[in-house]
């Protein structure tokens, strides 16, 4: 019988000075060449497990148990740094989440790959440059000859992650650990990266431990899935088993909230709570009518959602107001290249001939990869930036020529929810002050301010105790609720959401999307929702604009775009969106 590639037995990790373990009795094993997905949300202990295999645990964490790796006798947890260093890269190596911070910004990437080869000395020095080129070719780096001499900042996120993969596989390790390697990437790049990882791992016959919070990602890459929850392994099984017949309640919830195509009886996404009604990914394509039994369960569970019929408010609003609320005509934005000491850099055209309009009450999704000009467009719409040419009208304010006073009026009417819930809240302000900020700016009296802040926090399901706390005491999902509360406290007509869920775990994502849906209906908002993920937009928006390189390549009703995308680019975006249905189809 073949020895297991990796064996972890009863791994328990306790922070020094704390009683409670953050990882409880984790046991798992990998056979040689096996590909295993480790799934869980942030804080579930999946990264800690991987770090203990690499011997990279932070010092203040105390680990107990056994970690055994093929090719090394004895417990890895007790091994000294020198032993570990020789194991890394030769037997086990790792691809990290953030390729920009994992690469040395001052070293050419060819040198960084060569460094790994040199340190481990398996290859004669003279052959190193040839091997570097070969590795870059293997990870399908465009133009590997010149890529060797590039610095990390000259590459895109996807290319950097390719370099990371090349480094990790340089010495043909037996086990590759990937820690959320695609979370920081756009969906289209993510698809390529996943295929590449799967291909390279089987090419060098390595085992794979793939860590992610997104079930849809793991299906195409892995044979087996391990689900972790609160520091424990709750379920293990093959991909098909986990996807079609999840045993643990949490797995079912995760599965349900990953599925952006299925909705419950109220048109809401499934969450961990309502997952009971979830019937699994719809294997027959295009059919996503909810289970009637599920509807009843859900209504009992979720009293907040069921009051208003889904589309009534939106339609009423658009009927009331025939002229579009937002009009964007032929807008371009050029960033002047201005170097130090008058040295000219080439101009960058971020937006080029953008044309669209949004009726009151409409829900518009703006989709595109990073660098497509989405954020610049948002900046212009919210009056934080001005177009170089073209006209923008929001309500009755012409943004391109607006005085600072009418810009203030515009901002009162249009509020933004930002992407990163960790960066968009001032760490030194209490929640009450954060949410009250737009009211202070609007000159609202103190008593009324407090009342409205409390009311708003209640609307986003945070209780009054939250008022006195600071942002770092909340998790991502809660912070995004605070951010939404701040945006809506002045009762704007228009809500702009800039990738509000792309920094969140899948299970929390569904919650926040449902909350947004509820609020958009309750407050009769016009919604502009920006995302790189078509799956998210599809659920929430009635109209979609697809952007690429500062231009609109396609626009129309959501269903139309989905049913028959006219542009190649849109087709690629749709194909790249991780969906449970496709994933299951691919694996089964």
């Amino acid at each position: 019988m073949a020895e297991n590639l990796l064996e972890v037995r009863d791994l328990t990790i306790t922070p020094s000075g704390a009683d409670a373990a953050v990882l409880h009795d984790v046991s798992l094993n990998l056979e040689p060449g096996e590909r295993v997905g480790l799934i869980g949300e942030s804080g579930s202990g999946k990264s800690l497990t991987a770090q203990s295999v690499m011997g990279l645990l932070p010092e203040e964490l105390h680990a107990e148990g056994r970690v055994h790796l093929q090719g090394h006798h004895g417990n890895l947890l007790e091994a000294n740094e020198k032993t570990l260093a020789s194991l890394r890269s030769d037997i086990v190596s790792m691809v990290f989440q953030e390729p920009m911070s994992a690469l040395n910004p001052l070293m050419r990437i060819g040198d960084q790959i060569a460094e790994v080869l040199r340190i481990h000395g398996k290859i004669p020095r003279a052959q190193i440059p040839a091997r570097v080129k070969e590795l870059l070719e293997d990870v399908r780096m465009p133009d590997p000859d010149s890529a060797r001499f590039a610095y990390p900042h000259q590459m895109s996120g996807g290319q950097r992650q390719r370099v990371m993969l090349a480094i990790a596989l340089a010495n043909s390790p037996k086990l590759l650990i990937c820690d959320e390697p695609t979370t920081a990437l756009d969906v289209t790049v993510q698809r390529h990266m996943l295929d590449l990882i799967a291909e390279r791992v089987s090419a060098v016959e390595a085992g794979l431990l793939f860590i992610t919070h997104d079930l849809a990602v793991v299906a195409g890459v892995c044979d087996r899935v391990i689900v972790m929850y609160r520091g424990r392994i709750v379920e293990t099984g093959t991909v098909t088993e986990i996807f079609t017949d999840p045993q643990h309640e949490y797995t079912r919830g995760l599965l349900a909230s990953s599925d952006l195509e299925a909705t419950d009886g109220n048109g809401r996404l499934f969450t961990l709570k309502t997952a009971l009604a979830y019937t699994g990914p719809q294997t027959s394509a295009g059919e996503d009518t909810p289970d009637p039994v599920g509807t009843e369960t859900v209504e009992a569970d979720d009293p907040a959602g069921g009051n208003i019929a889904v589309d009534d408010v939106g339609e009423a609003a658009s009927a009331r107001d025939s002229a579009p609320l937002i009009e964007v005509a032929d807008v371009t934005r050029v960033f002047k290249g201005r170097g130090l000491f008058g040295r000219r850099r080439s101009d960058v055209t971020a937006l080029d001939g953008i044309d669209f309009s949004v009726a009151a009450g409409e829900r518009l999704g703006i989709v595109g990869e990073s660098g497509s000009g989405k954020s610049t467009l948002l900046g212009i719409l919210s009056g934080l930036d001005r177009p170089t040419t073209g006209h923008v009208r929001v309500g009755d304010i012409r943004v391109e020529a607006a005085s600072s006073r009418s810009l203030r009026a515009l901002r009162e009417n249009l509020q933004i929810v930002f992407q990163d819930p960790f960066a968009s809240l001032d760490p030194r302000m209490r929640v009450a002050d954060i949410v009250a900020e737009p009211l202070i700016a609007a000159g609202v009296e103190k008593d009324e301010r407090i009342a409205r802040v409390e009311e708003m926090l209640e609307a986003v399901d945070l209780d009054a105790r939250s008022l006195r706390r600071y942002p770092h005491q909340f998790s991502g999902g809660q912070r995004q609720r605070i951010s939404i509360a701040r945006a809506l406290v002045t009762r704007p007509q228009i809500l702009v959401a800039d990738e509000p869920v792309s920094a969140l775990d899948v299970s929390v994502r569904a919650q926040v999307l449902n909350l947004l849906t509820d609020l958009v209906e309750d407050y009769a908002l016009t919604l502009l929702f920006v995302s790189h993920d078509l799956g998210v937009v599809q659920h929430l928006c009635s109209q979609i604009i697809v952007m690429k390189d500062g231009r609109i390549v396609e626009s129309g009703a959501t269903e139309d775009i989905y049913a028959n995308p006219r542009q190649e680019y849109t087709r690629r975006l749709i194909a790249a969106t991780p969906s449970l249905t496709d994933a299951l189809g691919a694996s089964g």
Partner: protein, 311 residues
């Protein structure tokens, strides 16, 4: 440190999961925090407390009056009556060290106060202009003027002040304070630029806050850490500068006791009575070391890398 957030009225599941996440993270964070209260901070605090204690006690009690001359007991070594010995006029060294601590702290507080109150706003204002496309040159002018001041030695400035006004504690403090302005301006500017580039400032602008309000509400609290670190380092520098000036006779004048003057007076007895130089020298070193260590400790505590994504 980070409490378990219980922010939900209704047990929505993401909140429950979030709470578990935060709990899992909590202990690790707090243990790192306690490690942050590191040795340099503790030692620094001890030294600074000692100096401040000496100065405070000198207001209530000293072994002798500072000007009490005792020709019989001149140039004595340490004894029960004079624990630190006496100088050439028979004045008690311990008394002088205690009184000297007052001047040292006074100079530090006033000099740092001047630098902080002038330098920080300069830095913030420069950064605010730097963010406007039309204001870059204003920022450039402010910061280049700042650089010129930075290139000007503090001692030279103090000597000029002493020449223009009469030599004394006051001009010395002001000169040292002015010389410390550029440090604060630079720290405040870089901190402000960082804060202004953050998404929460974008959010504040999107919700209509005025620039002045953003500077007070968002920028100040977020750069306070860096400014405090700068203050403790500047404090150490001004202690040293004052001692140097007094030693040269350009700072504190007789008959006010100061450590720099004690050093200067001990010069002629260095070979016969080295302890006369030892005591003031040691306390100057303690003060400088104390404030520097405190600054180091505070810097670790306020390290933006530790700050990022905490909790």
């Amino acid at each position: 440190m980070s409490q378990t957030p219980t922010g939900a009225t209704d047990p929505r599941d993401d909140v429950a999961v979030d709470a578990a996440t935060a709990r899992a993270r909590g202990p690790a964070t707090s243990s790192r925090q306690s490690l942050r209260l590191n040795a340099s901070m503790i030692i620094g605090t001890c030294f600074v407390t000692l100096i401040v204690g000496l100065a405070l006690v000198s207001f209530i009690w000293t072994p002798y009056a500072p000007s009490e001359i005792d020709p019989v007991a001149r140039l004595q070594s340490a004894s029960l009556a004079h624990p630190f010995g006496t100088d050439k006029f028979g004045r008690d060294t311990l008394t002088w060290v205690m009184f000297g601590a007052r001047i040292t702290l006074l100079v530090g507080v006033v000099a740092v106060g001047i630098a902080l109150l002038i330098g920080t706003p300069i830095g913030i204002i420069a950064a605010l202009f730097a963010k406007q496309s039309w204001g870059i040159w204003i920022d450039a002018v402010i910061m280049r003027a700042n650089d010129i001041l930075l290139a000007f030695p503090a001692l030279l400035l103090a000597i000029i002040f002493a020449a223009v006004f009469s030599p004394g504690t006051g001009p010395a403090m002001i000169a040292v304070g002015i010389a410390a302005i550029p440090g604060f301006a630079r720290v405040a500017r870089s901190g402000t630029l960082q804060v202004l580039g953050s998404e929460y400032v974008r959010a504040a602008r999107a919700s209509n806050r005025r620039v002045s309000a953003i500077a007070v509400v968002h920028v100040l609290p977020n750069i306070a850490g860096m400014v405090i670190v700068q203050a403790s380092v500047a404090f150490a520098i001004s202690v040293l500068a004052e001692a140097g000036l007094s030693f040269l006779g350009l700072g504190t004048q007789a008959p006010v006791p100061s450590w720099g003057r004690m050093l200067q007076e001990s010069q002629q007895f260095l070979s016969t009575h080295p302890e006369l130089a030892l005591w003031p020298g040691m306390f100057i070193a303690l003060a400088v070391l104390g404030f520097n260590l405190l600054g180091d400790g505070l810097r670790d505590r306020f390290d933006p890398k530790m700050e990022a994504r905490r909790g």
